[in-house]
Amino acid sequence: MSSRTLFDKVWDLHAVRALPSGQTQLFIGLHLIHEVTSPQAFAMLRERGLKVPFPERTVATVDHIVPTEDQSRPYADTLAEEMMVAIETNCREFGIRLFQPGSGKQGVVHIIAPEQGLTLPGMTVACGDSHTATHGAFGAIAFGIGTSQVRDVLASQTLSMSRLKVRKIQVDGALRPGVYAKDLILHVLRHLTAKGGVGFAYEFAGSTIDALSMEERMTVCNMAIEGGARCGYVNPDQTTFAYLKGREHAPSGPAWERAVAWWKQVASGPDAQFDDVRTFRAEDIEPTVTWGISPDHGVGVGETIPAKESFTQDEWATIEEAYQYMDLKAGQRIAGVAIDVAFIGSCTNGRLSDLREAARVITAHGGTVAKSVKAFIVPGSEAVKIAAEAEGLDKVFVAHGFEWRNAGCSMCLAMNPDKLQGRQVSASSSNRNFKGRQGSPAGRTLLMSPAMVAVAALEGKVTDVRTVLQAPAAKAKA
């Protein structure tokens, strides 16, 4: 059993008591809600006549259903409008802060909480959304929950939970030019599989992780869930503290030093014991693209689509299903696969550094979006949008044929007007390539880094971004 890891320390600090079942009643420091998984939870509270005892510890925004083009109300989609009205009413009635479009603070829930300094090291964070793992980048224990558990947190600020095992994912060395945090996590998923992390929290550590920016760490932790791990985290360090300092809700004045001292204490110490350790070398990681229907179906851009025999036999049926659904064959090169749609955005890769890198690649390439491709870029939050426009990134995108949209989840899960049509293939900076995920029951998704999406949009096909970024001097940190 693990001990003295950040996970163990944060768990113990938040354990309220043991429940009769043997589960732990765990205090939740930050509860985030959005319009999709919360209305039923509020309905259950009303049914039972329950109140919200810690309304200041829940923060709401709207992201999944928000259109990224015309945001005027009422929304054209009456079901979406009904959900908006529901969260507005619920937040008003229960005294919860809601960041609405136009406030400057709205955006994808996993982007706005960190950028406002709401997510802090050593916290427990819960949200009715599986990508809550993102917040682990700060050294928080953050996990996705379902709607009944959203109800539990609203009514008690706690959850009934079983402790997870802790696996350390040690990554050492320097990422090569054109290789990003997204490639790192797709590489890890490929080797540990989509179910390898069930029952675990993933601690990401090592010199490669230490060198990542906070935004890159968020990309890595965001996709821990795609490996089956309910949470992923990075120990807080100077990079974390520098990111947080001065953010609206971060501690300030004399409280800052006390906070940093406490945050340092919750990190895994040299005496930490893990249930499992896996090691990777950054030099082994190539720009990675998924070819199949699960996020662990990734290959290096220079590789071919793997034969089913390279998987364990219990996976063969899934692999066959993936070849058929994607209309790709074993032995075929992934580079050169034609795309119809290019999407940059989402809680995985919709942050300022992602957009900067996309703009850099587009400028280095110099071309415009291929005629056969629809390409659009969706900032993860209103704050990201404002910052990107202040740098002129939007002008770069539009000049090269990309559409520039408003903040939201957009085509990551297509609960809004942004959807694939028919059997279209998308190059997507999002997190899931499940069948039908991007809005068309037959639509196909190739996951990759925002830089790789940008070059795919320009070339009309999967292309190694390193061919655009040839000069090693052009490498900048994503």
Binding site: Q40, I145, R432, F434, G436
Partner: protein, 201 residues
């Protein structure tokens, strides 16, 4: 609100495949709703339509399995999105218990909170059970949480569930809300000890 769940028995439905994600169980467009009512008919909507278009039959459309209350799946069932809409759709379709090799963590937690038990069996046993049901769709499959086994005809296989949730089902405490709320004084005391709750004052 909770009641004891120790035995679930009924005709069963085999759904083969690893890594069946919650987007497939309930596509996102059906999440545009403010209640879970009516989700049952949309369970596996896109998978079903696609097979129908190929003149094939999805197990959820197969008349041999109509009225089934037990679902038998393979590994990592319910991976992906945290949407409780997925187990809600399955439950509202009529399923009262699930047997599989493994379940995604969040999906499993949602099922506990809904009183829908998910028992784990070995990969070989899951496939054997699926074969049994395909051969004899009228056979009853029984999930016995107290004994830790799943039975189908002459076959009886060991089945497990983490001890905490198993106890919650067996004692009728799978809906944790009552207990969580009853401990509110202890919750407030625990919160006071966390320096960030007081703003590191």
């Amino acid at each position: 609100m909770s009641s004891v769940v120790s035995l679930v028995s009924g005709r069963a439905l085999p759904l083969r495949g690893n890594d069946i994600d919650t987007d497939r169980i309930i596509p996102a467009r059906f999440l545009r709703c403010v209640t879970f009512d009516g989700l049952g008919q949309f369970a596996f909507e896109d998978d079903r339509k696609q097979l129908t278009a190929q003149s094939k039959t999805h197990p959820f459309d197969d008349r041999r399995f109509a009225g089934a209350s037990v679902l038998v799946v393979n590994s990592n069932f319910g991976c992906g999105s945290s949407r409780e809409h997925a187990p809600q759709a399955i439950a509202k379709w009529g399923i009262r218990g699930i047997v599989g090799v493994s379940f995604s963590e969040i999906f499993f937690g949602n099922c506990v909170a809904m009183g829908l038990p998910c028992l784990r069996v070995s990969a070989a046993d899951a496939e054997a059970l699926q074969g049994d049901i395909e051969r004899d769709p009228a056979a009853d499959v029984t999930l016995d949480l107290a004994k830790g086994e799943v039975r189908c005809g002459k076959r009886s296989v060991p089945a497990t569930m983490a001890e905490g949730p198993r106890k919650q089902f067996l004692t009728g405490q799978w809906d944790a809300l009552g207990q969580l709320v009853s401990g509110i004084d202890e919750v407030r005391a625990a919160a006071k000890k966390l320096p960030y709750v007081g703003g590191f004052a």
